[in-house]
């Protein structure tokens, strides 16, 4: 039921197309129009929120390729984002490398670091891998904090604005175009990777890696490829984060963030390209809602304990992750397909 009635496949190319019908195209164009005119009518604050959403989507797409498609659980994603962010900071700030080159380098270096910590995945999986990546998170952050001649240590490091040639992304609006453009590219890349040869191999590895190996899938290659691509996207996201924030230290990349990214792809729906996007929207907008509402609630109910504003966020996110796992393990993306099927059949029930 993922297509409207009467849509037929006359050739392979049309069968594989992402946008199938004229309505799809119309809706897509309207969406693009709305998205790219956003800087005209959104306030600076909300533009900032959308920029952060775009950056998070890139990271979540990477994690989704690694966890959702290839089934290799990584609880150190924030660490890999940190690698990308610091690479950009050092390259553009200290060495004066142009931004686009630094962006690419960030992705590649984060990917290579991911390869190192992904190496055990060839022999172990599940919990062992989760622990290895947690260890990766702590080791990366420790190195960042203590290699202060390069990274600035606990004090942090400032990052120059992104610029391509003479074009400098100074305002929130111009950064919006940079970030959204790259996000769109990454979504396209991830979608196409997932439905191609590599993506099918990932799914086979996820479902049963022994069986996949027997079928002739090179486990070492594909598992490490998943780690490389997942961490590459994390690096790109970190690079954008660094230039967008402008000043950062290792406090921005905690284990809690890594867990939140896992939460994001679970809430969105593992193993779909739509999932990470929806998950990021849900979590980041929920964060905004909590930030807006919790002081109001606290002033309204003086009986609440003093830690209400700081504690409520993690509590809500933890609860949301648990509830989704128990009640809707396939995430918002699954609800969306159900909804689409339902409205196409309306007013009939099947």
């Amino acid at each position: 039921m993922d297509l409207p009635c009467g849509t037929r496949n006359f050739d392979y190319a049309r069968d594989m197309a992402v946008l199938r019908t004229k309505t799809h195209w119309a809706l897509f164009l309207v969406f693009l129009l709305v998205l790219f005119t956003m800087p005209l009518y959104l306030s600076k604050y909300w533009l900032g929120v959308s920029n952060f959403i775009g950056i998070s989507i890139i990271a979540a797409l990477g994690l989704n390729l690694l966890v959702g498609y290839c089934g290799q659980l990584s609880v150190g994603h924030a660490g890999f984002i940190a690698v990308g962010a610091y690479t950009t900071a050092v390259l553009t700030g200290n060495l004066g490398v142009p931004f686009l080159l630094a962006l690419l380098c960030s992705g590649i270096i984060a990917g290579l670091v991911g390869l190192i910590f992904g190496l055990p995945s060839v022999r172990v999986k599940g919990f062992y891998l989760a622990i290895t990546t947690i260890a990766a998170q702590f080791i990366i952050i420790w190195i960042i904090n203590h290699w202060s001649s390069v990274t600035g240590g606990f004090v942090g490091i400032s990052v120059p604005l992104a610029s391509i040639g003479p074009l400098e992304f100074r305002s929130e609006g111009s950064q919006f175009y940079l970030i959204m453009g790259l996000t769109a590219l990454c979504i396209l890349f991830s979608k196409n990777l997932a439905r191609g040869r590599v993506g099918r191999a990932f799914v086979a590895v996820r479902d049963n890696d022994l069986a996949a190996e027997v079928m002739g899938i090179n486990l070492l290659y594909y598992k490490l490829l998943a780690f490389f691509i997942g961490c590459f996207l994390a690096g790109i996201s970190g690079s954008l984060l660094a230039t967008w924030v402008g000043y950062m230290n290792a406090e921005n990349f905690t284990l809690a963030d890594s867990i939140l990214y896992i939460g994001i792809i679970i809430i969105g729906g593992l193993g779909t390209t739509l999932g990470p996007i929806l998950g990021v929207l849900v979590i980041r907008l929920l964060q905004q809602a909590i930030m807006y509402l919790s002081p109001l609630i606290e002033s309204g109910f003086p009986v609440l304990p003093a830690g209400f504003t700081t504690g409520i966020g993690p509590m809500v996110f933890g609860l949301v992750i648990i509830l989704f796992l128990v009640l809707e393990p396939r995430g918002v993306a699954h609800r969306w397909t159900l909804f689409k099927a339902a409205y196409r059949l309306w007013p009939f029930s099947y």
Binding site: V67, L73, I134, H146, L210, G318, I321
Partner: protein, 294 residues
């Protein structure tokens, strides 16, 4: 020499507490093969609960500690009943991430109720340090090691002779056969969670008597993962052997490497050990190597 002995003794004592916390992990893993990544947060919340009982409510020890144990039992039961029971037979990914979610929730709960983020438990053991050879060791370390050992002994006796202990070992061995023998598997699961929470609580109180209650306790819980990894996931003996090894490595390494590499090396030694074990011998020292079949 005195320095060396000092590091060895504190390392052994702290390692015993790590081993105790790791035991809580191995318990759950053995009976239900759920990897409990919320261990650190369980340690954290039970330490804060003890603080709440002893300092904020002003209760004496002999009421405060039993209350903490009861709280831990209750916490374990609630967690198992509400989050893990509905996920029985789900893929391992969900089982791991749900404990991550629990950890996240508990951490929020702690900042919610106790926003001060640092506190100290009242002193429980006599304060004057004693001497072993040239080394001076504070009594808390000795007590912590002794209590961990006693608890470990009690637990091994429980697993050896008590009916529930035998049922838990049997469940670890073969769930289907156990169900056929009319042993309630779900009750075994919740018992293992309750026990795990109790050991985490005792370990947490021992650690926070030494170092105070901070968010570092979460990291203590994470460090005890290196104990389970090194010892082998499903082995109690492995925990007891690997715990002191990790403690020694951490304290000796911290003591002698800090001037060379820089401060804070102590805190990541367990994580480096994890990576090394993972690459060389992923099933640990005593762990059972499972052969996979399609």
């Amino acid at each position: 020499m005195a320095e060396f002995l000092q590091y060895v003794i504190t390392g052994l004592a702290v390692g015993m507490v790590y081993a105790l916390i790791a035991l809580g992990f191995a318990l759950i893993w053995k009976s239900s093969s759920v990897a409990n990544l919320a261990l650190g947060q369980l340690v954290l919340i039970s330490s804060w609960f003890t603080y709440g009982m002893l300092v904020q409510a002003g209760l004496p020890y002999w009421i405060g500690f039993p209350l903490t144990i009861v709280f831990a039992l209750f916490l374990g039961w609630v967690i198992e009943r509400l989050t893990l029971r509905p996920l029985i037979a789900q893929p391992i990914l969900s089982l791991i991430t749900v404990t991550l979610g629990i950890g996240y929730f508990l951490e929020g709960l702690v900042t919610f109720i106790w926003p001060m983020s640092v506190a100290a438990l009242p002193r429980m053991f006599p304060t004057e340090p004693f001497q072993i050879g040239p080394a001076v060791v504070s009594q808390e370390y000795a007590w912590a090691a002794a209590i961990s050992l006693i608890l470990f002994g009690l637990l091994s006796l429980f697993f050896r002779y008590h009916k529930m202990g035998i049922a838990m070992r049997a469940t670890a061995d073969d769930q289907l056969a156990v169900q056929a023998c009319a042993i309630p598997v779900t009750r075994v699961f919740s018992t293992s969670w309750m026990f795990a929470c109790v050991v985490a609580a005792v370990g947490g109180v021992l650690v926070s008597l030494i170092g105070g209650i901070t968010f570092g306790l979460v990291e203590t819980g994470l460090k005890s993962f290196s104990v389970v990894i090194l010892g082998g996931l499903d082995s109690f003996i492995g925990c007891m052997v690997a715990g002191p090894i990790i403690g020694l490595a951490e304290n000796l390494g911290g003591g002698y490497l800090t001037p060379l590499i820089g401060s804070g090396i102590k805190d990541i030694i367990p994580f480096i050990i994890i990576i090394i074990v993972m690459v060389i011998k992923p099933h640990g020292l005593f762990g059972e190597e499972r052969i996979e079949r399609i």
